[in-house]
Amino acid sequence: MKRLAVFLLGLASCNVCASTSDQSLMQACTGCHAVRASDLEGIGPSLVDIVNRPAGSLPDYPYSKALAEANFIWDIGTLRVWIQHSERMRPGTFMRYHNALTEAEIDRLLNLLSLSENILNEPTQ
């Protein structure tokens, strides 16, 4: 019964669905970050509404000094540099990440992150 409900809700909300290739791109983030409000908290800060959020600004998240003292906004440009090499962009960050995505895949991933409200959020009951 519950599965049927999930299925029907899915139908209702799925005007534009993340394809599974998109899902495999998102796995570059989801190991450590929540990407939807309903996700379990990861060790990294939530990426829900990440675009246009000031860096290091989530209340109660234990940021590294490198990000707590950062003075910039997460936009497509800064996020791209971050994904390419977070530890060179802000030495001392706790995010240990070695990028395996191509430039084109990073573009698609950034698009997914910026559209997260529309595409990734689960339907509310």
């Binding site: 519950k2 599965r3 999930v6 299925f7 809700l9 899915g10 139908l11 909300s13 799925c14 669905c17 993340a18 394809s19 599974t20 290739s21 998109d22 899902q23 495999s24 791109l25 998102m26 796995q27 570059a28 989801t30 190991g31 450590c32 990407v35 939807r36 309903s38 996700d39 379990l40 908290e41 990861g42 060790i43 990294g44 234990p62 590294s64 090499h85 530890e87 060179r88 030495p91 001392g92 706790f94 240990r96 990440y97 070695h98 395996a100 995505l101 595409i119 990734l120 959020n121 689960e122 339907p123």
Partner: protein, 461 residues
Amino acid sequence: MQRRPFLQLLGMTAATASCPLAVRAGRGKRVVVIGAGLAGLSASYMLERLGYDVVLLEATQRVGGRVRTLDNIKGRPEGGANVLGPNYGRAIAYAKTLGVKLSPPPRPRGSGLLINSTYIPSSDWSESTKNILPSHLNHWMPDQARTLMLPKALVGSSDWLSADQQQWDYSALRFFQEQGLDAEVLDWFARNNSYGNSLEDTSLLNLMRVSESIQTAIAMRQPTLVVTGGNSRLPEAMANALKTKIVFGAAISEYEATGSEAIVRTRQGEEFRADAVLFAIPLTTLRDVLFQPKLPSLVAELIARTHYHKVLQSHWTLNRDNNNAPPTVVWTNGPLGRLFFNRVDDYTVHVNAWINGNDVDYWRALRRQTQRQTLEKAMAKIPNASGVLQHDIDMDWVEEPYQKGVWASWLPGDIKHIHTLKHAQGRAFFAGEHTGASYSGMEGALESAERAVLQIDRALS
């Protein structure tokens, strides 16, 4: 527990929960994953979520690979992977998602050193006449002093792989000799070194990588973690979360790729066909697989020549008539390696003599009676460590047929080549801690699985 509804409710991915009609990249495609260690389990889990049909083959009769809780010994000590770093995001996420509890390990009760049969509590070490470390480092333990002497050239976690750091990829023995260290200090630095079977075979760059990694973890000021009830509970939970039923006892001897598919054959002659094969096994086991077509010669040579680090843990139970606590760890410059003491109950202490590198060969050649006498002699010097010793098991990783060591220990000069080990070769893909970039150990295995799944999805979708 019903698996699929459980995972759907937890909703780890958007697409499977809310997009049931979306075309799945993996639909109709089959991937054979070889090795049910953390890398193979994690890759299988992710591939299934992407819609692939997964067949997971495991040579032994258990999951977890080098994660191995010794459940039959009092106190359930870890025989393999020990602790999760506070930055092991993927491992922590799996635990959370699958309902596996994590907790900080017991608080350390102090430590000491046993040097040529003299016991020195750490608190007295800097003043001890046995301490011949360079004076600016003499308030540190030998392992810490070795780390502090390393060049500090790495900033990012994967910088060790970049071309401009390869100048450091030479023998750690040469480096420490150039620092003008006394022969005895060089011997201390060779002992209990987890990254080479001898100091000569240890890459300086690899030591620098480990040091960078530890420094970042410390900077987080968060506790390390262990799995409540034993680290093996994590891979077991990952295995239970799979749709596929793991095929145990399937040791792969051959891989063959044709234009349209890949075939793997077990030693028993069983055959599995797939669109892609993921080898999530150590190089020591990959070595035994015959590839058709052949792997590029550099890759084949790296697989053949890379050393695996030798570890033998000699596990004992100490039965005592008092409940005073021995120190948590005693560093020795002798064949016993490091002695770890873990209190099981008031009158029982678990003792693990953790022996590294070429000292393993020495220990293995001793008769059990001589091993016991060696340990008893050492224990007599250590406070609150007297009692009756009972031998439990020797967890000898070198003798394990599908591991033959604990992790890849890159020979000096090889790090510039090792990126080739994660290249796809036709329908063959590769994962495992030895292909980790920003992480080693358990998290390195999970990191590698994520990268390999991306490669497979690129190739097949």
